[in-house]
């Protein structure tokens, strides 16, 4: 609107300027918010079940805590249920993707 800029200066209205202190007018007391978590495994799918990591492994009913994702020392990630099943069906404990020896990566190692 072309006239609005002019109006603003003419009719300052209920905003008396100058006299009030410059201290905080607005202070946040409480913040209630949300954050959604997902597995830190990229937007990829599990190499075994081809379901997204954020989805369900075929064995699990629910995504999230019920379908945990684990990493091997080779840095490949799978649903826990998927890799467990894979390993138990194999004689040699190897990563199904890179064929290296499979070892679960510990939580500490995972922190980067």
């Amino acid at each position: 609107m072309p006239g609005s800029g002019v109006n603003m200066t003419v009719d300052a209205g209920p905003v008396p300027s100058g006299e009030r202190p410059r201290a905080f007018k607005v202070k946040i007391k409480h913040w209630r918010t949300l954050a959604s978590w997902s597995w830190n495994a990229g937007d990829d799918v599990c190499g075994i079940c081809r379901n997204p990591f954020d989805g369900c492994s075929p064995e699990a009913k629910y995504p999230g805590d019920d379908s945990p994702v684990v990493w091997g020392t080779c840095r490949h990630a799978f649903h826990l249920q998927c890799i467990t099943q894979w390993l138990s069906s194999q004689t040699e404990q190897r990563c199904p993707i890179c064929r290296q020896n499979w070892e679960f990566k510990s939580a500490e190692e995972n922190e980067e």
Binding site: M1, S4, G64
Partner: protein
Amino acid sequence: MAARGGGQVGPAKKLKIKPLKLKPKLPANFVETTWAKLQRSIQAVFAEEKVAYSFEELYRAAEDLCLHKKAGFVYQNLVNECEAQVTRVLGKLSQNQGSTFLSELEKEWQTHCNQLLTIRSIFLYLDRTFVLQNAQLKSIFDMGLQLFCQQIEKSPGMERTLSSGLVEMIALERRGDQSVDRKILKSLVKMLLLLGLYSKHFEGEFLEETKSFYAKEGADKMRELSVLDYLVHCERRLEQEEEKCKEILDALTNSPLMKIVEDCLLKRHLDEILDKGFNKFVDQLKLVDLRRLYKLCFRVGGSDLVRTALCNYVKEKAGEYVTDDKNRSRMVQNLIDLKAAIDKVVLECFDDEESFHSSLKEAFEYSINLRQNRPAELVAKYIDAKLRSGNKGGGEEELENVLDSVLVIFRYISGKDVFEAFYKKDLAKRLLLGKSSSIDAEKSTIGKFKTECGSQFTNKLEGMFKDVDTSRDIMAGFKNSASVQSKLKHGMELYVNVLTTGYWPTYPPVEANLPAELRDYQEVFNKYYLSKHSGRRLMWQNSLGLCVVKCKFKKATKELVVSLFQTVVLMLYNDADKLTYEDIEKATGIEPKELKRTLQSLSLGKVRVLVKEPKTKEVNPTDTFAFHYEFTAPLYRLRINNIQLKETKEENQNTTERVFQDRQYQVDAAIVRIMKSRKTLSHTLLISEIYSQLRFPIKPSDLKKRIESLIDREYLERDASNAQIYNYLA
């Protein structure tokens, strides 16, 4: 009789009975005189005069004659006497077949019967011996009746006069003539029955008359009376005829009679009755009349028609509610009310017929699914409104009832996934913004869905509750962690709901430049959370963030409950008094649409903490916003975050679109699943398999598109020899 004789003592004398020396003889004219005596008496009885002899004497006389083998003679003479009497009496009557004919005949008949009884008493011995032993002879009473009957048949025109007279009487009575003497009617009909003349002329003529009477009455009354009154009339008529039949007529006449009455009054007019009356009755919940209507229709086998009418009513009404966009907010309540009313009608008026229930289910399903998504969405919204805090009206029990009744409507919805999507979105808002009236009620609602649709349906919804509970634990740990608390310096409290991706509706990320304190807290929480849960990452969702903000105004300090975006905007005023729209946009980094909404809520809502210039009703990029120092309000704590609860058009669209996208995936998945197990399948078989697996409605043409798409993506191929057959490509 020889007894003890001479009395001399001697050898034992034998007692001997000697025959009479002389055979006893009857007086010479024994038969003649005795009969004459009897005859005189019979005639006296017939003439209603005093009988000169005692009945004892007469009985003996009759007995004597019989004993002397004169029974045949007596019987024949008796017949002659009776015949003479009947001829005399009826002969007289046949001369006069005028208005008094029936009553006179009735009188004669009664007299005749009484006289016959007397005569039979006199000749009881004859009746019990001679007559019984001769099968071809009729008992005295029956003989008397037969003579009466024969005489009636012999008299010219008498029979006709009799039956048409009776029919006439009945017709008069039907027209409401009070003077009709039921006694005469009753006794004459009984006479016809006794004489075996009932079915010969009377019954047919009577039924004929009935038919023409009621045919006319049905047509007339249908024209004159309202349907309501007409039905009352019919009911009364049927009762009258039933009662009449019981009282006067032969029981065998009942079924043809009632059939005629039902036919003429009801069956012929059934369509018209239902057409004119039914909807009005249901509209006005005229239970008594509906009950009557049903009972009457049921009598003539028209309950199917009633059912159809009811279903049409439901289809029409429910269809109206569903397609009426103007009164969208009333739709669910209207449907619930309609369903309750119809249930009541079926229970109280239609004998709670099972077939009614199943047809009604179809009718409701049909009309509710006239619109694909609206009803599902509105049902979800309806429940949302009930479960939101601040919903007035009733306690837990009331809420339960409401939920149960809305669940009935829910059952009819074919696109349950649409419902789920909207329900989930609303539930998320209730949980995350602390707007749920009671977690118990929430859980009990979920429980109801679970029993209704199975756990698959509610898995994610339950997951949401789980997340809320887990978050509470996480936050408790966060608050109690000394190392964490030492890092938090702003004296602000943080509460984070940590959501599992997948359970919750997806919120489009809305970026905003958060104030430094919020960023600090975020950072601390992030570290804390990831230290507890490795292998995860956190995505902050701003759109449902909520803050309590202390605002110092000139007169007082207020606490405002605001959305995160509102907070971000308000925080800017710590360093300024007045900002242009552009300033705000630049500083907050909130996208225009969201920003406009936010500014609108702060400057144009009920609680105006910003003053907009110019004072138009829309937010424009050229506006300026000043902090409202003069702001006053009676309350200390003010809520201005309602915009978060409100659903925007985009949100609504997004939800719907997501459902449709989801459906595509589900269809694709179903097709692949089926083809993977079958390898080769014809088009028709595939389609029917798909339909049996899907839980939402979809058009066959859409299915075809999905199949095409899967062929393009090389999941399937058309068989080289037959285009109607698909092969699965591994």
